[in-house]
């Protein structure tokens, strides 16, 4: 199904707040037409960080902006626009972002977690455009997924859908085995070092990534059992390792017991450099889209 693109002539602001890293952009016609990225001190008090966010939005805000979308790595009450216990920002324990920003800018504000933003961003602007049912996997330090069904973002009742990282696997859970931290925990290898060695065809590095692909394949199978999507898009720091673990991942996935599910499955890697801002802005387009 091809979505109605006309809505995207509407202009939206996307905000991504990832700990020390703040990115804000204005999106129109499927492009980021103005943006800024800045470092913030994540240990500042709540109000100081909030002001930094607002100052940044001020710089890209124009009168024709229809809505603001914000992606935050935290628990989110989507309907109230409240974020709880934001990762890497200790002072943000409960911030009513939705109300604060809609009071100031007089437009609708959509708050969601970063994995959900990533998934809806890929649906609107990235590798998943052609597909109605999609799961986006964000893997770096943590592992979180966003779920698109019938072209719409599905956040669950308490924004907790897609937490595949928390599902038990072997003696821990998928987050333990399928994130970059595993390389260091298990093998004492920093991701950077592992990457460089793999590029040089280092046998040990390739074997590490073979095992990783096997485990990652199990995470994919669990996603297939839960959602049976047409397309899975992988983003985050793990993406650069994908060429090394991809064949081993597929070996596990192809052993899936329902071959119909795997036959047409696409597993892609995100390659849009501005997906964080685009994904946050896509929250607005998703909210506007009619089912």
């Amino acid at each position: 199904m091809i979505q109605d693109m006309t809505l995207q002539n509407q202009c939206a602001v996307g905000v991504y707040l990832g700990g020390k890293n703040l990115r804000v952009g204005r999106v129109r016609n499927n492009m980021v037409e103005e943006s800024l990225a800045l470092d913030i001190d994540n240990h500042e008090p709540e109000e100081v960080i909030l002001k930094a966010v607002m100052d940044a939005i001020d710089k890209v805000m124009t009168p024709d902006v229809g809505g603001i979308g914000i992606g935050v790595p935290s628990l989110v009450d989507v309907s109230k626009g409240v974020v709880y216990n934001v990762e890497h920002i200790p002072s943000w324990r409960e911030v009513h972002l939705g109300d604060l920003l809609s009071d100031r800018y007089k437009v609708s504000v959509y708050v969601n977690n970063d994995a959900n933003c990533f998934a809806i961003g890929e649906k609107y602007f990235g590798k998943a455009k052609k597909y109605a049912n999609v799961v986006g996997i964000m893997t770096g330090v943590g592992l979180g997924c966003g779920v698109i069904t019938n072209n719409r973002l599905y956040s669950g009742t308490t924004c907790g859908a897609g937490e595949f990282g928390c599902i038990p696997y072997k003696d821990h859970n998928y987050e333990y085995y399928c994130t970059t931290g595993y390389f260091e925990r298990k093998y004492g290898l920093k991701p950077e070092a592992l990457y460089n060695r793999a590029k040089k065809d280092d046998k040990i590095a390739l074997a590490v990534l073979e095992q990783f692909g096997f485990d990652f394949g199990y995470a994919i199978k669990t996603i297939l059992y839960a959602y049976d999507p047409e397309c899975i898009v992988i983003g985050g720091d793990i993406s650069r390792f994908f060429p090394f673990f991809e064949p081993h991942m597929w070996k596990t996935v192809r052993a899936f017991q329902y071959e119909k599910t795997v036959e047409k499955l696409k597993i892609e890697v995100s390659d849009h450099p501005e997906i964080a801002v685009l994904g946050a802005a896509a929250l607005y387009y998703d909210a506007m889209a009619k089912n």
Partner: protein, 284 residues
């Protein structure tokens, strides 16, 4: 939109095929026969058409069929149906639409259960819930925004297949658990538990712990507002619910639990009514 008033619900199991005429949520006429044991796909198809025609009337506005298999929902193609070895790939929707000249909707049995609960059962109270069948197997249908969540091949909600301990959740959370673990039948254990038999109650407590783990996986993936339990084991809900909730209580996102409802289905004939509800869901 007006919902269909006269529909036929068909429950195609591995052993029996059953069809019923459903008017405004009430079953008014039923027919059933054994699934022919044959390697000829046509024999099974013809038996199914015969079963449906015994309850078919000219006012019927749609037919819904629940099948224990993967289904390509839009096209109504069923693949590798459990216990019907001749059905490798059957264009069931097309075949039945040709035979009965009305719209036909095909989906897997777990999805039918969820839709049945949504349209006729406890699910009328919830817009987002998971219908979890705990019978011979463990499967689920996901209701999102009041309707069945679409997917690629009706393969979503197969939580039973997710790896768990030395096997998968199905082995620990379906009726198979009692045979494997206690060499006992779940139904007989339930009778003993009802009489206060301590060993039977302990067996259900152990079951409840495993089911609680499966439910946490449902919460992590789908985060529904409610879970409606169906299938034969759900009839023993009162014997295992305490252990189940105990296991769920350490779910890390506590506020998701505050409003979560977990209830057993109280519908009779939910398989047939669920298949009938497919029509109503598809057209509303």
């Amino acid at each position: 939109m007006e919902s269909l008033k006269n529909v036929i619900g068909v429950d195609l199991g591995g052993t029996n095929m059953r069809a019923a005429l459903v008017k405004s949520g009430e079953i008014t006429n039923k027919s059933a026969r054994l699934v022919p044991k044959t390697d000829q796909a046509d024999e099974v198809t013809n038996a199914l058409i015969q079963t449906i025609s015994e309850v078919f009337t000219p006012e019927v506005e749609g037919i819904g069929v629940g099948v224990p298999s993967l289904v390509k929902a839009g096209e109504g193609i069923v693949y590798d149906v459990q216990n019907i070895p001749s059905w490798k790939k059957i264009h069931l929707k097309e075949i039945l639409e040709k035979a009965f000249k009305c719209p036909v909707y095909v989906n897997n049995d777990a999805n039918c259960f969820a839709v049945g609960e949504r349209v006729f059962g406890a699910g009328t109270r919830y817009d987002d819930f998971v219908g979890l069948i705990t019978g011979t197997g463990l499967g689920a249908g996901i209701i999102k925004g009041g309707h069945l969540m679409p997917d690629q091949n009706c393969g979503a909600g197969e939580f039973g297949m997710i790896p768990y301990l030395d096997d998968n959740y199905e082995m620990y959370c379906s009726g198979q658990f009692f045979g494997r673990r206690f060499n006992a039948d779940g139904g007989e254990l339930a009778q003993k538990a009802a009489q206060g038999d301590q060993a039977a109650l302990a067996a259900f407590a152990e079951y409840g712990q495993h089911l609680g783990k499966a439910i946490k996986t449902v919460l992590f993936t789908v985060d529904p507002g409610a879970i409606i339990l169906g299938g034969s084991v759900s009839k023993s809900f009162e014997f295992y619910k305490e252990a189940m909730w105990q296991e769920i209580s350490d779910y890390p996102y506590g506020f998701a639990l505050e409003n979560l409802k977990i209830v057993p289905s109280d519908m009779q004939e939910v398989a047939i009514l669920g298949a009938a509800a497919l029509c109503i869901d598809a057209l509303s």
